[in-house]
C-alpha cells in the first residue's frame, strides 16, 4: 500500500549558494554553527535564500487510544477532550507559545472518544471514537489509517490558501506515548525497553505496564507490522499519529519546511520517512524530548534536534519554540554584511583587504 506523493530532493544549487554566502558574511566561517546549517537546509527545502516565514502553522491533532484504559498513563482518558476544549479557549501551552512565536494553531479531532461541540476553530475529522487497544489486535483498519493520513494531508492543503510557509506538528491524546513507542519499535526493530518512557509521568509500575503493553502489541500485530509502514501505523499507531504522518508528507510534497515536535511527532515522522524516504529532506527536528525513545527515532531519521530543553509535553510546543531559530537563520543569511561590503579583513593568509 502506498501514498501518492512526489517529493523532489532538496535544491542543491540553492544550498550551494547559501553555503557560499555564509562564508562571505562578516564572521569567522562556521562560527554561527547550527544557524548556518539551518539556513542552508531551508534554502534546499524552499529553493530560495530568503524563504518567507510569515505564515507558520502548528497542526495539533487529537485522538484517543484504547490502550489508555490499561493503566499506561498518569492521566485519565477524559483529559483528551478536556484539553481540546482548552486549546479552543486558548488556555493551553501551545496557544501561549504560538502567540509568542506569531504562529497559527490548527486544532483537529482525528478520533477523540467524546462528542466535542462544534466550534469554528475545530476541524471535526473524527475517523472513529478512539482506537481499539493495540494489545488485543489492530488499533484501526487499514482504511481508517488511510483516511486519517488523508485528513492530515487535507489539513495542510487547506491552510495553503490562507498562506503557509512553515508547517509544525503537534499532538494531544492520553495514551499516545504508548502508541508512539509501539510505532517506533515496529518500524525500527528496537526493543520496547529502549523506546518506552514515562510519558506524562507514570511511576515504575506504570512504566512496566507500558513496556508490557508495547511488547504484547508487537506480538499480536506482528503479521500486519511486517506488511509495511501504513499497515504498522494501522496496527499499533493512533489516529493523530497517522494524521501527522499525512501532514508531514503533504508539507514535503509541497516543499514546505516541516518542523517536527517531540516523541509522538517523531513516530509520525518515522512513518512518513518509511512511506516516502525523500520526505526526511523537508523535516527539521525542533527538540530532543525527555521521552526515552525520542533520541532513537531522531537518530533513525538522521536528524539532529535544535533544542534540548527537557520538554515532554507535546501539543507542538517544542516545534513552535524552534521557530525563532528559523527566523534567526534566515535573517543572518540575508541581512548580514559581507566582508567586501563592510571592509572587514578576512583571515590571515586569505586574500583580503587588510587595512594596515
Amino acid at each position: 500500500m502506498s501514498i501518492d506523493v512526489s517529493i523532489p530532493p532538496p535544491d542543491e544549487s540553492a544550498m550551494e549558494a547559501a553555503r557560499a554566502r555564509q562564508d562571505r558574511l562578516t564572521k569567522p566561517a562556521g562560527s554561527l554553527g547550527r544557524l548556518e546549517e539551518l539556513s542552508i537546509r531551508l534554502a534546499g527545502i524552499t529553493g530560495r535564500l530568503d524563504p518567507p516565514l510569515q505564515h507558520r502553522v502548528v497542526f495539533t491533532l487529537a485522538a484517543d487510544h484504547g490502550v489508555a484504559h490499561e493503566g499506561v498513563s498518569a492521566y485519565p482518558p477524559e483529559v483528551t477532550p478536556q484539553m481540546v476544549l482548552n486549546f479552543l479557549h486558548g488556555g493551553a501551552a501551545i496557544n501561549v507559545l504560538a502567540k509568542v512565536a506569531r504562529a497559527r494553531v490548527v486544532i483537529a479531532d482525528l478520533g477523540v472518544d467524546a462528542d466535542l461541540p462544534s466550534h469554528p476553530d475545530l476541524h471535526a475529522l473524527k475517523v472513529r471514537r478512539g482506537t481499539a487497544s493495540i494489545t488485543r489486535g489492530p488499533a484501526m483498519s487499514l482504511a481508517e489509517a488511510r483516511l486519517a493520513i488523508d485528513h492530515g494531508r487535507q489539513l495542510v492543503a487547506g491552510e495553503v490558501v490562507r498562506g503557509l510557509d512553515v508547517v509544525m506538528t503537534g499532538d494531544m491524546g492520553i495514551g499516545n506515548t504508548t502508541a508512539a513507542a509501539a510505532v517506533i519499535s515496529a518500524l525500527t526493530g528496537l526493543d520496547p525497553n529502549a523506546v518506552v518512557g514515562r510519558g506524562t509521568g507514570v511511576d515504575d509500575a506504570g512504566l512496566e505496564r507500558k513496556r508490557q503493553a508495547v511488547r504484547r502489541a508487537l506480538e499480536v500485530n506482528a503479521e500486519r507490522i511486517a506488511q509495511g509502514p501504513i499497515e504498522a501505523l494501522a496496527a499499533v499507531g493512533g489516529l493523530e499519529i497517522a494524521g501527522l504522518t499525512g501532514a508531514i508528507l503533504e508539507a514535503a510534497n509541497r516543499r514546505i519546511p516541516v518542523v517536527i515536535d517531540g516523541f509522538i511527532s517523531g513516530a509520525a515522522a518515522l512513518a512518513a520517512a518509511r512511506i516516502a524516504p525523500a520526505s526526511v529532506g523537508y523535516m527539521i527536528a525542533s527538540h530532543r524530548s525527555q521521552e526515552l525513545g525520542h533520541a532513537a527515532a531522531l537518530e533513525e531519521l538522521g536528524l539532529e534536534p535544535l533544542l534540548d530543553l527537557e520538554l515532554r509535553l507535546g501539543e507542538g510546543t517544542g516545534a513552535v519554540l524552534a521557530l525563532f531559530l528559523l527566523d534567526a537563520a534566515v535573517a543572518i543569511l540575508n541581512q548580514m554584511a559581507t566582508f567586501d561590503q563592510a571592509g572587514v579583513s578576512e583571515r590571515e593568509g586569505s586574500s583580503s583587504l587588510i587595512i594596515d
Copy 2:
C-alpha cells in the same frame, strides 16, 4: 580591593509562588522542563511572576589585546575597529539577531587600538589603546581595570532611563579568547590545556601558541593574580572583559536579569562571581559555546546553559538568541489556564474534577 555593590539574594517567596503556579497549569508538572525553571528563576530575580521583558539591551563592548600580535588569532587586530564600524552600520550578526529578537544594541569602545570616528551610537569609553601583552606583564594597571569595570556599570545605569528589563553581554576584540582563557585559568586554577580553545579558528600551531601564551601570562603575573579577582582581571584580562564584569555586577545590583553570552562573557561572569558571589543569582547562561573552556567556566558558576547551537562568535549573539526563551517562560507562567480554570482533570489519584 573591592567593588561597591549590594546584591540581595533572589526573592524566595516569588520563586515559591511561581513554582506553585507552574504546578497548577494545564500540563503535567515539570513537562516544560527548562522553561518552568527559567520562569521561577526570573521570578526570584525580579520579585514578580510577570517581569517585563520589553526593554532588552545587549551591551557589546570592544577592546584590543596586546597578545593579539603574538600569533594567537586567525584574524589580524585591525578587525576589531573594522567590526565596531560594522556594528555601527548594522551589518554584523549581533545587529541582525538583535533586530529579530527586538533588542537594542549598545556599542562601546573600552579600549580599541585605533581612533574610531565619533558616532551617535558609539560610547567612547577608551581606557587605553589596547592592553599590554599579558605574556610580558600585566595587561593593564589596577586603576585602569577599575575604570573599565566602572564604565561597564555606568553603561548599564545609563540605559535604565530609556527602560532596561534585561541586560545581555557581548564582546568584540581580536585576541580576546586568549585573555578570557587566562582569566578563567587564573580564577579557577584549571590548566590552560583544559581552557584554551581555537577561538575564531586557529590551526594546531596557533593553538599551541595560545596555550604557551596563557601559560606564560599566568607565570609572569602569578603574584598579581594571587591578590584577588580584580587584580587578576588587570593582570591577564582585557578592557572589554573588565567592562562586562562591571555591567554584570550593575545588573545584579539593580535586580535586572543578565543573560550571559559565550566564552568571553563567561570569563567576565566568573570574575563578577568572585567579586560578588551573590551576582550569580542574577545570571542566566544563554548557550554553551564551542570554545573549549566555556563549559568549565559555566560549571564553576553552577549555571546550565539554555542553548547548545555550536556557536563561537561572541558579540552577544548567543545571549540575544536566548531571549525568546525568556519570553516563552514568562508567557507560560502568566497566560496558561490552570486545571481549575479549564476544567481539566489532574493526575489519577490526585484530587481532581474528572468529567465522567
